[in-house]
Each structure stands twice: as structure tokens, then as C-alpha cells.
């Protein structure tokens, strides 16, 4: 177990004027035993950041520390961290047992200890009956668990997860999410979990790093990120459907952006007059899409509530206490 720290971490590919910078100075501290999710759209540099921690990518600038020690030039194997890959990267020709034991054999543990550790991990992940199988004989969910087992069995100082759930179907993904939470509670190992799925991020994270275009937009608990987004990007990225970001509505200043979540818009007898364009029933709730001049609005109703018909004109109004204000030039939150 270990704390993790990023100090002005940069990543550039190539050199000279042709270089492309993909990470622009990230600074963050992750406490010992914390579960941190790195979330952002594809291409935002989140996987690159994770791979730099693992030692699979060189750090162009700044420092990465594990337990207070700078590891920029330390070999991946010597960093004592384990990684779960998106496609699991199991050794296809080895049995489940051998897959988990391989790293331990290289570290020259005794046969006895390897057997004990692998069996204990297999019990934890309910893989006992599969130990003699090859990866090809396993289902996607089982492979995923073997990949986690391979990480756990090493008893590393930190776990790195690179979108480990994205190859599972929706139901299994939800199950595995719960399992990962349980595992983290019982093992308490510092974990860095990369995903582009905000539901995964919200449900798993103790704290989350929201990244965009190689920059850290916000680092905070899921509550903070959802309730008090630090920038327009975070506001628009987290939440489904996304927050309404209004530039051109009555009462919005020309240098500001007004953010209102769909659940914080109310149908009222006064306020903005908007036309109902379409309706979507999602089960427990109903989404109402409205047009307000050049802006589009989304409003969330409980499915039991009365709703307006398409084509009619209604008055809507934001819940003032839940509105967010952003600076139009910088995109940053205005208190």
C-alpha cells in the first residue's frame, strides 16, 4: 500500500516542433488506500497517465512519486504495482493457476507460498474451480476476474485499472463494479481506475480526477464534482443527460454561462417560455426536450408527474439555489 503523487507531470510524443503534448502538467496527491477514478472523454490522456504510473510510458516532465519516492526512471517490475488491462492480457497458453502464479515465480517465491497465495486469491474471487482452465475456456467475466486475481495475488502497493469493465455486458459490469468495491474495502490497496464511463466513475470513486485534453479539470469526491463542477467541461461531462448550459437565454449575462441540471428545471406559470420538441420515457423518469430561442433545454420529470404535450408552449424556470454560473471566457466556475 502506498500514497501516489503527481507533480507537474507532462507527456509529449516526439520532439522538436513536431511534438504533440498530450498531458499538460498534472498535479495531484492520492492518499494511501484511496480509490481514485480517472475519468474523461477518449483521447484526454487518462490512459497515458495511468501507463506512466505503471512505467509503460516515459514521463516527459515533472515527477511521479510512489510512497514519497520518485519513480520516473524505475523499471515497471520494480515499482511493485499491478495493472488490470482492458483486454485482460492473460497469457493464452497458461492455465488460470499459472497466469496468477507467473509473477510470483519470477519473484522466486517458494512453491508452497505460491500455491497458498494463488489459492487464497482464487477463493476470494470464486475462481477455485477454474484454476486448471485456459483463458480461452473462460467467459468474459471469468477472464476479467482472473486478470484481477493476477493483480491481487502479487500483493502490490497499488492497483491500476485500465477500463477493465468495458468489455463486459451491462449486467456483468454492474455486478463487477460492486465486486471491485467490496475488494477494495477488504484489501484497502491504493487504486487508480481509468474509465470513460461516468456511472462507473461516480459509483466507484472515493475521489475522481476529471480530465479533458490533457488537463486535470477537477479533483474531488463524486459529490463535489456533481454538485459543484469546477468548469463548464465538468458540468457538461458528468451527468446524463448532461447539464443545460445556457448562453443565450433571458437573464444570462453576455460574459457568463448558466448551468442548470435537467432535474433542476421546473415547469411553472412564469419564467422562460419554451416549446416542447420531444419526450422520452426512461422508466422512472421522463425527459422533456424544449426549445428556448436558439437554446435547447432538457427537463427531467418523474414519470408519475403530469407532462406537457409535444408542440405546446410552456413556462420553465430553474431552481435558483441549484443553478451554476461559469465565466464564458475561462469556462471556470463563478462562485
Amino acid at each position: 500500500m502506498a500514497s501516489l503523487a503527481f507533480r507537474q507531470v507532462l507527456k509529449r510524443y516526439g520532439s522538436g516542433p513536431a511534438a504533440t503534448q498530450v498531458i499538460h502538467g498534472i498535479t495531484a496527491n492520492i492518499a494511501d488506500g484511496e480509490f481514485v477514478v480517472v475519468v474523461g472523454p477518449s483521447g484526454c490522456g487518462k490512459s497515458t497517465l495511468l501507463r506512466m504510473v505503471a512505467g509503460l510510458e516515459e514521463v516527459t516532465g515533472g515527477e511521479i512519486e510512489i510512497e514519497g519516492r520518485v519513480v520516473n526512471t524505475v523499471e515497471p517490475a520494480k515499482r511493485d504495482i499491478a495493472m488490470v488491462f482492458q483486454n485482460y492480457a492473460l497469457y493464452p497458453h497458461m492455465s488460470v493457476f499459472d497466469n496468477m502464479a507467473y509473477g510470483l515465480r519470477i519473484r522466486r517465491l517458494s512453491k508452497q507460498e505460491i500455491r497458498e497465495r494463488v489459492e487464497a486469491t482464487a477463493r476470494l474471487l470464486e475462481l477455485e474451480s477454474l484454476l486448471q482452465r485456459r483463458p480461452a475456456q473462460l467467459s468474459g467475466g471469468q477472464r476479467q476476474r482472473v486478470a484481477m486475481g493476477r493483480a491481487i495475488v502479487r500483493q502490490p502497493r497499488a492497483f491500476l485499472f485500465d477500463e477493465p469493465l468495458s468489455n463486459l455486458d451491462a449486467k456483468l459490469r454492474a455486478q463487477t463494479r460492486v465486486e471491485i468495491q467490496k475488494l477494495h474495502r477488504s484489501l484497502g490497496v491504493t487504486s487508480l481506475f481509468v474509465t470513460h464511463d461516468q456511472v462507473e466513475a461516480m459509483t466507484l470513486a472515493q475521489r475522481m480526477m476529471v480530465m479533458n485534453a490533457g488537463r486535470l479539470e477537477q479533483f474531488g469526491t463524486p459529490d463535489e464534482v456533481y454538485q459543484q463542477p469546477a468548469s463548464v467541461f465538468v458540468a457538461g461531462f458528468m451527468g446524463a443527460p448532461p447539464m443545460n448550459l445556457l448562453r443565450d437565454a433571458p437573464g444570462v449575462r453576455t460574459d457568463a454561462i448558466l448551468g442548470v441540471r435537467p432535474e433542476h428545471l421546473r415547469i411553472s406559470t412564469y419564467g422562460w417560455q419554451a416549446v416542447v420538441e420531444s419526450l422520452e420515457l426512461l422508466g422512472a423518469e421522463r425527459l422533456v426536450y424544449l426549445r428556448l430561442g436558439r437554446e435547447e433545454l432538457c427537463l427531467r420529470l418523474s414519470s408519475a408527474e403530469a407532462y406537457p404535450r409535444v408542440g405546446t408552449s410552456v413556462y420553465v424556470q430553474p431552481v435558483e439555489s441549484a443553478a451554476h454560473h461559469f465565466d464564458r471566457a475561462t469556462g471556470l466556475r463563478v462562485p
Binding site: 505503471a54 515497471p76 517490475a77 488491462f85 492480457a89 493464452p92 507467473y102 509473477g103 519470477i106 502479487r154
Partner: protein, 287 residues
């Protein structure tokens, strides 16, 4: 009649006819070779020659295997030549596989200056078969004093990395994550090669072994040039020397045919025994 038996479909009939003709064209000479190897030279000299096996099979095969060609001082017994050929084919196949698999591993998994240059230089050797570079190679081998040795016989044939390309293409299909998982598990390059890459390449190696064994076995021009000591003759060269080189310049065709049948057997056996691996290696990639 609602449905005709499948054999009567005209298209099938034609296809079968073509296949039978092809089979006959391929198999008939082999059959003749075998028949000739079981006859005496008098029987063989009749016109037309008999179409059924004679009674000399045991005698002919025993004679060529153990004594060699009668009246000839040029040919060693066939078992010696078979042994030479077997050794040559095995060394060439094994050597080529070792060289190619290692060079492909280097080219695919390591980033070093001149990597692509190395790859292209290896690639270019594909365009230079033994026959093209035979004179300079002969000069080099002679200068090194390797004439009449197994080293001289096999080394120049090993040193063309024909299989490198095949292994490279296969290695490129291995996911990067596998390499990275190995790095995180603490496997060094050699360890990763032995524990992961090599086991995953088994079927490809087996398939290639079949091809290269037959390639080595069938070498003719190079052994003919480099080997002047009869005791080191390979079977393919030895076979050709038997023709027209009997004691009184006649050819003992029945013995030549027996030798030909013996020369055919090892490559055929290798192909048959390794057929399962061969096909798997060419069609399946186990990942």
C-alpha cells in the same frame, strides 16, 4: 424420383473427373517407380515393363541400403546418404527457425537504432536464393576451409532468414498488453521470449519446420558443389550420381528406383506425421 443421388450432379461428376485425372498424373510415375524398384534389371528391360510388383523388392532394397550401387565405387551405401541428408535437413530446418525466430523477436519487440534497416536487409535476402549468390558463397566457404564439411554444407543455407517475415507477421498480432503484462510481472526480455512468445509460436514453428525440412532435404546444387567426399554425399545428389555411372556406364534402373523410393520416404513421413500441426500452424492463431 424426387432427389438424385449427389454423385450424379453433373458439376460434381466433372469435378471428380478432374481430380481423378490429376491424381493419376501425379501418382502414376510414383507407382512406376515403386514397381521398378521391385523388379530385376532383366524384367525391367522388357517392353512393356510389368505393371505389377516383382519379387526382387527385398533383395533390391537390401542391396542399395547396405552395399550401395553394385560395381560403383562412387556411391556409398544408401543408408549413409540418408543419414547425411537427414542431418543436413534437420540442421538447416532447426538453424533457420532459431535464427528467424530470434531476429523476428528483436525486430518486433525492441526499439533500437536501425531497426527497420535491419528488417529490410533481412527481407532482401528473401530475394536472393542460394542459386543467385552461389559463386560468392562458394568462394567464402572455400576460403574458410569449410569444403567437405557439414558446416560448409548447412551454414550458407541457414543464413537466409526466409522465415523471419512469417514470424514477424505473427508476432505483430500478439497484443501489446501481453508484453506489458509481462513487464509488470517482472519478466525480462529473454524470460518473456521463452515463457510466452515461444509457447505461443509452437504451431507456427511446427508448420515452418515441415516446409524447411523438405527444403533442406531437396537441396541439390549446393551439396553437389561443396561436397566432393563421397562419404558426405546427400541422397538427392547420390541419386543423380547413380544414373549413368554404373561400372560399365549402364544404369541399374531397378536399384536407382529403389533408392528414389527411399529418398522419398523421410520428407513424406515428416509431412504425414506433422500434418495436424502443419495445418493448424497455417490457419489458426492461438491468442
Amino acid at each position: 424420383m424426387t432427389s438424385a443421388p449427389r454423385a450424379f450432379v453433373p458439376g460434381h461428376l466433372l469435378a471428380h473427373a478432374v481430380l481423378w485425372v490429376g491424381l493419376a498424373i501425379t501418382a502414376f510415375p510414383l507407382y512406376l517407380t515403386f514397381i521398378a524398384s521391385t523388379l530385376t534389371s532383366q524384367e525391367l528391360a522388357q517392353a512393356p515393363m510389368p505393371m505389377w510388383p516383382g519379387e526382387q523388392a527385398w533383395e533390391n532394397y537390401r542391396k542399395v541400403l547396405i552395399e550401395g550401387m553394385s560395381g560403383s565405387h562412387l556411391s556409398p551405401p544408401v543408408w549413409v546418404m540418408l543419414r547425411n541428408s537427414l542431418a543436413m535437413a534437420l540442421i538447416i530446418a532447426a538453424g533457420k527457425i532459431i535464427v528467424s525466430v530470434l531476429s523476428a523477436y528483436a525486430v518486433v519487440f525492441f526499439r533500437f537504432p536501425g531497426r527497420m534497416l535491419c528488417f529490410w536487409m533481412i527481407f532482401i535476402t528473401l530475394m536472393l536464393p542460394v542459386e543467385v549468390r552461389i559463386l560468392p558463397t562458394y568462394k567464402v566457404v572455400t576460403d574458410l576451409g569449410l569444403v567437405n564439411s557439414f558446416t560448409g554444407l548447412t551454414l550458407p543455407l541457414i543464413a537466409s532468414a526466409t522465415a523471419t517475415l512469417l514470424f514477424r507477421q505473427y508476432f505483430l498480432t500478439l497484443p501489446d498488453e501481453l508484453v506489458e503484462a509481462g513487464k509488470l510481472d517482472g519478466a525480462g526480455p529473454l524470460r518473456f521470449f521463452l515463457d510466452v512468445v515461444l509457447p505461443l509460436t509452437r504451431t507456427q514453428i511446427a508448420a515452418l519446420f515441415v516446409i524447411l525440412f523438405v527444403y533442406g532435404w531437396n537441396q541439390y546444387l549446393w551439396p553437389l558443389l561443396i561436397i566432393t567426399d563421397n562419404k558426405l554425399d546427400t541422397i538427392v545428389v547420390g541419386l543423380s550420381k547413380m544414373i549413368g555411372s554404373g561400372g560399365d556406364a549402364t544404369t541399374n534402373w531397378h536399384l536407382v528406383m529403389a533408392t528414389a523410393v527411399l529418398a522419398l520416404l523421410p520428407p513424406v513421413l515428416v509431412v504425414i506425421l506433422m500434418q495436424k500441426w502443419f495445418v493448424r500452424g497455417l490457419v489458426e492463431s492461438e491468442k
